[in-house]
Amino acid sequence: MESQATASTATPAQTRAIGAGIAPLLGAGDVVLLVGPLGAGKTTLVQGLVAALGGREPVTSPTFTLAHRYPTSPPVTHVDLWRLGHLQEVVDLALEEELDGGGVVIVEWGEAAEPLYGADALVVRLGWGRTDDERTIAVEARGASWISRAAGLSAVAGAGAGTPGEAAVGEG
């Protein structure tokens, strides 16, 4: 069961706006998997998301320490799996303890966590567009709790202010 919306952005500010648009959909125990190549804007999107949840400190890359926690509401754990080589290393991060404690987990290079969390997650795919600055962003809801929030996804796709109206929501 899944549902999808797509958008394109022309600036990092618009990518941040997509992140801010996802923020109000999030609740305790949610997993967001960010998938996309280097420079696609994954951390940029998280900056918008964390700021929209009331985060005040700058969102820096968690690549090295693997996880940053932000005291937002709900609390966000920003994870980056880029350095990892084995699924066991993802298991070792004990993310279910964060989720069970009422937190939201946002995972960069999220394809590495799909075997563990992919069945019930919001999957955001970021890619390079036609120009250096353009990015394509596809937001896909997976699992019952996310499907029930699919109406909110079209608003998310529209949040990249001034972007072409490619937003489309449909059962996939």
Binding site: P37, T60, W128
Partner: protein
Amino acid sequence: MTDRGRVLGIETSCDETAAAVVERGRTVVSSIVSSQVDLHARYGGVVPELAGRAHIELTLPVVTDALAGAGLDRRGRSFTDPDGPIGIDAVAATIGPGLIGALLVGVSTAKALALAWDVPFVGVNHLEGHLYAAMLEAPEAELPVVVLLASGGHTLLVALDAPGSYRVLGATVDDAAGEAFDKVARYLGLGYPGGPEIDRLAVSGDAALIRFPRASTAGVFDFSFSGLKTAVVSYVRAHPEVTNADVAASFQEAVVDVLVARTVAAAEEIGARGACLAGGVAANSLLRARFAESFAARGLVSYLPSHAMCTDNAAMIAAAGYFQLQRSGPTPLDAGAVPDLQLRGSK
């Protein structure tokens, strides 16, 4: 604390397990780092790159080796006098920044050893440890100095005014310098870690071929490398024929350029007597050469750490622990790990 001021330091903030014994914050008696290389050789078996499980398995053997290097058995007593007094005066461990599951192993180990031996526990900021790494190798350095701390996880400019007294002048607002090296290297299909690979490949490339952007930041001593990383990807996508060597050389040029320029400006701003490199990126050969050149041209001393002191180690944690114990006493046993601990300055 005895006159020897012997501190056992434990470092498990990331993917290296390390322990060391240091006297009076200056003399390294023993220092063990379980890098992948000697792991396979000494402890056997497959070693996961990451944290939690590896640290649980390795911390006790690594501590045992560090104690042995100081002539002590696992119980902290001299091999020549096994019923004598404990030969360690305090136990220090990194409490942050780092990965929570990794940090907790070192913190829990250190606090338990402190309980077992009835000696003080000291919780140390990993980044402060890096400042002392510089000092461990340059005890004669005249202060103040500016320290450029650049690693896979951090990029900071710090003014070290006196032993135990420092100010943070600037930091990265997005990616760390070492992270940019690693990510560009892997994007180009080079090995990991990326720093040494880019360093090696850049020698045969044209550093002037591509003029990558030098990001300006709101804070004059801050850094930003996210845009540079994206610019590299963007350039390679648009110029598929470009060689990895030219990209590596031009990219490295841009990073080193910014790092050295900001450090020089900071040194002039605070009237530093010298400048010091710290962190894993300090192993980069172009950075070392430019750093030394730039400060020599201004009549200032530059301190370039050895490879062992660039990377994560526990000697620097033991040294920082010693000075912290002198300045502000033991850390209570109810201290935990602080994964996003910042370096704020000593006051």
